[in-house]
Symmetry: C2
DNA sequence: TTTCCAGTGGGCAACCTGACCAGTGATATG
DNA sequence: CATATCACTGGTCAGGTTGCCCACTGGAAA
């Protein structure tokens, strides 16, 4: 079914939702200048498409007492990948894990209560047999926090031609 | 301001919201077995605390036509940091940017329409004077997608003692 | 003891949702 | 050309939810 293109209206819906997440379908249709049913249908489609995965609460780890973020590049012993994945999944401070090409085999995002606490987290992460080596980079600043709107706008424009 | 501890009830609220984001305060209070006002007040506090940053839609880049994710480690020429940050902020495919300690100076998350397209994105990213060198790791699998619930539970348990 | 705070349980009007429906214009399809 | 199909409009409806109010309770701190 080709790529799930989105048009400008879809883009505006996502933008609106990003700016004011608690907005209802009715208010949304008013701002967009379309009928409520249309806004409803578009939103339903975006969700069943998988373009919008959900509206989960965005929790700030810092506010939870975990102000330190780090990225760790892990080198894995051959054939231990599955075990390492399972191990890392049990560590709450591992927020995200990817397997990658390149120098390391895996990349994970960690948080900790302090720089000192990061040592504990890293020990727990690498204290597992399949992990050969770990290189950690502590995050100092976050000039661009995780964002999606510019990409949504790009995608909406791209598909505008054949729409 | 001490650390913004959360207790078990807060933890359950966040968990509930994560599982069923479209749930209302009334239904939430029913599930939690507390009065509606309590659920309301807790939720308000979590939001003004900054623990819950918002309820923005989670958009899947893959569904938008960007199925390829990569991480790039950038080395920056001394004193060019601010310029590079500004440059990267203008690239829609840059989803996230951090300045870090360690081998590189910055780490950014990229998406692209294909492996071939990733070349275009990287060219655009590094086609800027202040960037000395870039090392890119393409994401193959994502065994642990960005998550927060385990950490929330951890935080809720930790503060349960002195609560 | 008094005050403060979080929580309870209830009530109220206004609003929103999900579900319908008939009608319209544009775009395929025969 | 006639006919489906599709997305959209604009409207209705009952039922649920929200935001706001109130009085009351129990625990903790001053």
């Amino acid at each position: 079914m080709a790529v799930t293109g989105i048009d400008r209206l879809d883009g505006r819906i996502i933008g609106l939702l990003a700016r004011e997440p608690r907005i209802g379908v009715l208010e949304m249709s008013r701002r967009l200048g379309v009928a409520r049913g249309t806004a409803q249908a578009r939103l339903d489609r975006l969700q069943s498409n998988g373009v919008i995965r959900g509206f989960g609460p965005e929790v700030d780890p810092a506010a939870l007492g975990y102000p330190v973020t780090a990225f760790a590049t892990l080198e894995i012993r051959q054939g231990q990948g599955a075990d390492v994945r399972a191990h890392l999944a049990t560590v709450p401070e591992v927020l995200e894990l990817h397997t990658t090409t390149g120098t390391g085999d895996m990349l994970c995002r960690l948080v900790a209560r302090s720089n000192a606490d990061l040592q504990r987290v890293i020990d727990r992460v690498v204290g597992f047999d399949g992990i050969v080596r770990a290189a950690t980079a502590i995050v100092m600043e976050n000039p661009v926090p995780l964002r999606i709107i510019p990409l949504v706008e790009q995608a909406a424009e791209d598909s505008a031609g054949h729409d």
